[in-house]
Symmetry: C2
Subunit: 432 residues, 2 copies
């Protein structure tokens, strides 16, 4: 076995594979380079089948768990050890890009290919993990399957299985339909990982703005979702005079504006309304009901709670200004506490990144987006590597990260895995 | 033939028929008394088939025109004359009531039944008309088929045929599917009416508030619809910081609020947003696009234009406040100019209403809602009779008009038709 830091990933192969698999499975209509690869869809099945075949061709053992997570494990010298994992996701938003999640899995595959073609025998096993339904775009609840595996999410395996998509298809059925309802327990205590690394695009503008190439992610902000329902009174759009109205759309519009204004003013974090629905779909009817979801994210859980409190206070003021003729109810639907990553993993990423591109190109940062690694960090030492997103865009067909930054991220991922493996071998890091 | 004003409609039969047909075709789940009888649906087909059979059993000739309007004509003494018509509609909003439109058609049937059982021979023919798609709830564009028949609407027969519902079914196909794509020209110049009366519920609170039983409608307010599209930039709900956002949902929310606020402040009329749609349906994505429709109605066309101008000025201010990071475009989709009803028809309704219930119970009024009669008034002398709506509610399952008020309206309708017929016979009114 050579010195690990001399191994080089194949940048051309990484980019070719990433682009060609995106073109084949889930591409939006050209010239858009956007993606619609909803979790457990036909496109997702086909790219999963391809991934499994690729990993097996590299000598990996492949396990599928009860929620469709794919674990492709390349054995090391120590038998029956838990693997050092590289995970991310291959599903996308309905109008997403080619890098969010996909880069992490494709880079993990490139690492496996590099180890394989160089006949490297690591001390510990090395795994690629593809987490199911990170986006939460088809079945509501982001980072769903890593959450189940970590056993720290409030949603159980069974409750996830029972979720329905817009067509009324339950998630368990969708898993069965594409052949990814596996038998491995979706529980880290039965199918554990030694540690978890995730390479991901930043999805924000900071690296680009600071002129850096690699972000060493030390934490993920906390987040909470709330479903809000506004209720008014139906009426005729022509005959009901303005002062007599109880219009759910108007009140909801004011509340949605208040969500944005409160987040902007308090500077506590971000708050977004991304899903809306009105009861009526007729122009001539004043709406009696309106549903929307608020997504709140802040660096700390305390800040999340402060921002949520400020938003609901603003809501109450608006309802009073509307003379209580409309009302609202709130349901807490989902959340993830703040995550602090593990110093061993952070050190592995930082040391190798510094060696690859030097201090000028590397910065520590927090993740503002949720990631599967936020859940794995509750089950094993974990951390993430970020590479720049052009213009900070993500969840957008124009999402872009250059081939050079993708390759750099994959190289740091490879190096961090080998660094961690050597630390385990030397006994400097202890197996969990 | 007896003296017309001594004829009495059968109040019990009217109410029984109205309630039982609503229960049979399109009722929402009990205990709601609401209706969902979308135009050209299976429920609409069945109630149409029933209506045609009833009219034929009374000796009427039935014609169906190219847009599904039903003309059931009871011959009078003058052969080949154009009929005195009583029209309204049997389609409803998705969550509408049992009276809007339905009362007018059921009362017209009750008039025909009363004439038939009393062996009355009128001078002119008397017609019942059921206008297609008054609500515009399935195929967009209210009062659609009376507008086509009047030839004064901006939408042609062919453009209506080409409209699609949410399932992608075109209107012409829907007409064929239920057997109501008739051969009679949908054009008043080829299938004319002598005049047109419509009994309708008020859909507003004025009669109830003033303690009146009958409204004599002298005009219908003008209205215009606009489709608005707001454009922003997609982004990640966690990673895109608040000041960097171009959020279409937030800007649209501000514009929708401004529509209400401008109408309230200017007191020029009413303005409503009843249909909304966001491009994205994922919580974790900032929306890049949002569509909504504005419905503006005022007493005069000038006031409509003033209110529209004020609304768009408010929009421009909001876009500037949002630093032009979002934008909007407007498309004029539909409109109906103000309608002034014909003095002969107004006199016929007023004279018979005063005779029926006395001056204390009758008031002149404007219609704030659009009606088929607004279009017929462009093709022949027309007017309307209103009866009270409980709490002013309409386009709402709780819409309610008492059996006594329904019967009173039907009686005034009968009397107005016979009054007009006698005026034509005496030569005081001239045939158009």
């Amino acid at each position: 076995m050579g010195t690990s830091l001399e191994l080089k990933i194949n940048a051309q192969r990484l980019n070719d594979t990433l682009q060609s698999t995106c073109t084949s499975w889930g591409a939006l209509v050209a010239p858009s380079t956007g993606m619609c690869r909803l979790t457990l869809s036909q496109e997702d099945k086909e790219v999963r089948d391809w991934l499994v075949a690729e990993c097996k061709s590299l000598g990996c053992e492949v396990k599928i768990d009860q929620i469709g997570n794919i674990f492709a494990i390349r054995q090391g010298a120590v038998k029956d050890a838990k693997p050092i994992a590289m995970g991310s996701h291959m599903d996308t938003q309905p109008a997403g890009g080619r890098y969010d999640g996909i880069l992490g899995v494709q880079s993990a595959l490139e690492v496996l290919r590099t180890l394989h073609e160089n006949n490297i025998t690591t001390h510990y096993p090395i795994a690629l993990v593809n987490w199911t339904n990170e986006e939460g775009a088809r079945f509501p609840g982001a980072m769903m399957a890593s959450g189940v595996w970590s056993t720290h999410s409030s949603t159980s395996l069974e409750s996830c299985w029972d979720l329905q998509d817009k067509e009324g298809i339950r998630m368990k059925q969708a898993l069965e339909d594409i052949g990814y309802l596996g038998e491995t327990k979706a529980d880290y205590r039965e199918n554990g990982l030694e540690c978890h690394f995730e390479l991901h695009i930043e999805q924000g503008p900071l690296l680009e703005r600071e002129g850096k190439s690699v972000g060493i992610v030390t934490s993920v902000q906390g987040m909470k979702w709330f479903a809000v329902r506004v209720e008014g009174v139906e009426g005729h759009a022509g005959a009901t005079q303005m002062p007599s109205r109880s219009d759910a759309i108007v009140t909801a519009s004011r509340l949605i504006t208040a969500v944005r204004d409160t987040a902007l003013k308090t500077e506590l974090g971000v708050a977004t309304v991304g899903v809306i629905k009105s009861d009526t779909s007729s122009q001539a009817t004043i709406s009696a009901g309106f549903d929307f979801i608020i997504d709140v994210r802040c660096t700390t859980d305390d800040m999340v709670d402060q921002l949520v409190t400020a938003i609901f206070k603003a809501f109450d003021n608006i309802i009073a200004e509307e003379n209580n003729e409309t009302s609202y109810i709130i349901q807490r639907t989902w959340g993830m506490p703040q995550s602090i990553f593990h110093p061993w993993c952070i050190d592995a990423c930082r040391a190798t990144a510094l060696k690859a591109v030097g201090e000028e190109q590397v910065m520590d940062m927090k993740s503002r987006a949720g990631h599967d690694t936020a859940w794995t960090s509750r089950a094993c030492p974990s951390s993430m590597i970020f590479v720049p997103s052009k213009d900070g865009l993500s969840h957008n067909p124009n999402e872009y990260t250059s081939p050079e930054h993708c390759a750099l991220g994959a190289q740091v991922l490879l190096d961090a895995v080998l660094y961690y493996d050597q630390k385990l071998r030397s006994g400097e890091y202890q197996s969990g």
